[in-house]
């Protein structure tokens, strides 16, 4: 037999969902039948989801990509010389030169798809643990300062400076402190947390470990949504391997310091992504939002000082420590520093993960990366920042993606999800859906959110049925004002964002006169 050729077929959920396992099995069977030596690796996904299953072959000139590959394509691909990286109708040439990938600035996702997610050797060979090793050689306060200086802000939605949070926990004395990772990723149109846990889990483990050592915490939890069984399995496996190799456990890398990490499975409540509801849930209670103060940094899990951060926030830390704060801070614009793993979703031709420095525009993302809609029809509406995010009108598509620039026009960057709709979308229906979602997912603590959202559904129904329309539109706006002002958390407080932006920018879908576009 010839020397085995390495072929990669991703194990990411989104690849599995379009048949990656069957492709891998067929490749193995067909190569065996032909007497070809194959070294099949199940890597993470590059995040080019319209090409999944994306098969990569290692050649002397680097990796060569083919996709989307079905099991039926495999014999023909092998005939054409797949194992030599030969041209084929499904071929895309060297993976790294695919423009979608080449144009990105991958810091957090630099390893994504390159490595076998569970291989400690792969991780180590690609800058893994360098941040942790450097952190262990620094005073704790200097580690926290490095994160502060990097300008990293929470990637879960609220964009609060991560270093300040850590500093508060570091400076709050307690016998027991906790690190909690928010992996509830409930926003429609987002999957960067899932990709990280499935495709580069040691990065998250390393980030959480750095946090633990810096603030003096010895226990950590990753709260993962139950809709992510593959992420949970991969993370559990990775934690066991990291522990066996001494990166976690009672003596982290021989430092004499302990960090014990555990995965906890959520149970399908969107509001448990809100940090205090999440803590309640971890404590074994109903996930009801707590009033703040006290801040979780002072009284968090089981009443103890707790760092709670999003997956991408923690995952950004190893590189910040490995290369220094300045390296990270040099990306981005204004007070939005570093990069954001942006997720293109919905009706988009080339949906996938795009990591770019802040400052990229929606138009670049929608067209240069996304290639317009999957349906080939005009884009009508784009929701940025999850189900509580604004429908961003075309007049704002050239605004740089930047927390402050978005806030200035009433938009939110949130967790970086972008959901595209074509011109068949009915914005009154989407507004109704936003209210309905809030009614279903409200934790029930405050009246404007619990009752207001149900009223909101009814009012929108009356508007679309043209029952006393002008009065009902006024009622809807009043209701939104009440929710904005009278809600304890962003569930009730931001549901008006999609509702009002739909109403303001697409009044014709509510049966109202079309605004003068030129004047708008």
């Amino acid at each position: 037999m010839s020397t085995a050729i390495t072929v990669r077929v991703p194990r990411d959920s989104a690849a599995l969902a379009v048949g990656a396992d069957a492709v891998a099995a067929t490749l193995q069977a067909e190569c065996a039948r032909r007497g070809l030596a194959l070294n099949l690796v199940r890597n993470g996904s590059r995040g080019l989801f319209w090409l999944e299953p994306l098969v990569e072959v290692s050649t002397s000139a680097g990796r060569v990509a083919y996709g989307p590959v079905t099991p039926e394509d495999v014999p023909g691909l092998l005939d054409a010389g797949l194992l030599q990286g030969a041209p084929h109708a499904l071929g895309h040439g060297p993976t790294e030169q695919i423009p979608y990938l080449a144009k990105q600035e991958r810091l957090c996702f630099a390893r994504m798809g390159l490595t076998d997610p569970l291989s400690l050797a792969d991780y180590e060979a690609h800058e893994g643990w360098a941040g942790l090793r450097r952190a262990l050689a620094m005073p704790d306060a200097a580690v926290v300062d490095e994160v502060l200086q990097s300008g990293l802000r929470g990637r879960g939605g609220a964009a609060f400076p991560t270093g300040i949070k850590w500093k508060t926990v570091m400076n709050t004395p307690s016998a027991q402190k906790y690190i909690v990772c928010n992996a509830d990723e409930g926003d429609s149109g987002t999957y960067s947390d899932r990709m990280t846990m499935e495709g580069d889990p040691y990065m998250l483990i390393e980030g959480m470990t750095i946090a633990a050592l810096a603030v003096g915490a010895t226990r950590g939890y990753v709260y993962v949504r139950s809709e992510y069984p593959h992420a949970i399995a991969t993370l559990n496996d990775a934690i066991a391997r990291a522990e066996a190799a001494g990166f976690l456990g009672s003596d982290v890398l021989g430092s004499g310091r302990a960090f014990h990490l555990q995965v906890r499975k959520a149970a399908g409540a969107y509001v448990c992504g809100e940090e205090t509801a999440l803590l309640e849930s971890l404590e074994g209670k109903r996930g009801i939002v707590r009033a703040k103060p006290p801040l979780p940094a002072i009284e968090g899990l089981f009443g103890q000082p707790t760092v709670i951060n999003n997956v991408i926030s923690f995952a950004s830390v190893p590189l910040i420590l490995a290369r220094g704060a300045a390296h990270y801070r040099d990306y981005g614009v204004g007070r939005s520093m570093g990069t954001l793993p942006i997720q293109l979703a919905g009706n988009v031709k080339r949906g996938g993960l795009v990591e770019k420095a802040f400052g990229v525009t929606l138009r670049e993302l929608l067209y240069d990366f996304g290639g317009g809609t999957a349906s080939g029809r005009p884009i009508k509406a784009v929701q940025v920042g999850g189900p509580l995010g604004t429908y961003v009108p075309e007049s704002k598509w050239d605004v740089p993606l930047d927390y402050e620039a978005y806030a200035a026009f009433g938009g939110v960057v949130g967790h970086g999800g972008i959901v595209v709709h074509d011109d068949t979308a009915d914005m009154a229906k989407l507004a109704r859906y936003a209210m309905e979602f809030c009614a279903i997912e409200s934790c029930g603590k405050c009246t404007p959110c619990r009752i207001g959202s149900t009223r909101g559904v009814e009012v929108i129904d009356r508007i679309t049925a043209n029952v006393n329309r002008p009065a009902q539109v006024k009622l809807l706006r009043d209701l939104c004002d009440t929710m904005l002002a009278g809600s304890l958390c962003a569930m009730g407080g931001m549901t008006p964002y999609p509702v009002l932006s739909a109403l303001d920018h697409y009044p014709e879908d509510f049966g109202l006169a079309t605004p003068d576009r030129a004047a708008a």
Binding site: A14, A17, F49, W50, G268, G284, R286
Partner: protein, 161 residues
């Protein structure tokens, strides 16, 4: 003692001392028994020093937990925005008709349970569904019918064996 109560007690014996043990316990019980039966509630409450009302409150608060067993096959259809943008609503309506099953319910023959869900993290390959824990993306109504057809064939073969 019923076998299911024995299973509940075994889970409790292993996990009751963990901090914040209730959710992990409920998950394990449901994974083993397919639901959290009513007679498990007092057992769990007793072991964790909680009232029955507290345990019941937690079970009913979370969408994931069920008090009754599901149908033989659980079909989840994502109905969140990214999937809506590529026809999730029509897909859900189609699923209801094809499975003869309403959303959030089981078919009268107990074969299917149909659950609309909010996002499976497959939003760049929508619409997405789950059939008995297996993910499927880019699902048209025709693709849905093929998957369900294959499932029915498997069931028929198993019944014939």
């Amino acid at each position: 003692m019923s076998t299911s109560l024995a299973a509940v007690r075994a889970v409790l014996a292993r996990r009751a001392d963990e901090p914040g043990a209730l959710l992990p316990i409920l998950h394990e019980v449901q994974d083993q028994l397919g639901c959290i039966p009513a007679d498990a509630v007092p057992e769990i409450a007793g072991a964790l020093n909680l009232s029955r009302a507290e345990v019941h409150g937690v079970i009913t608060y979370y969408h994931h937990f069920r008090g009754e067993p599901a149908g033989r096959h659980v079909i989840q259809v994502c109905r969140a925005e990214a999937c809506q943008a590529l026809g999730a609503e029509a897909l859900l309506t189609h699923a209801e008709r094809r499975l003869v099953c309403r959303s959030h319910a089981s078919s009268s023959d107990g074969r299917y349970t149909l659950e609309p869900v909010f996002c499976l993290g497959l939003c760049a390959s929508s619409p997405a569904i789950v059939i008995d824990e297996r993910l499927h993306a880019r699902i048209s109504p025709a693709a849905f019918d093929r998957l369900i057809g294959a499932l029915e064939n498997e069931d028929a073969e198993e019944a014939a064996r």
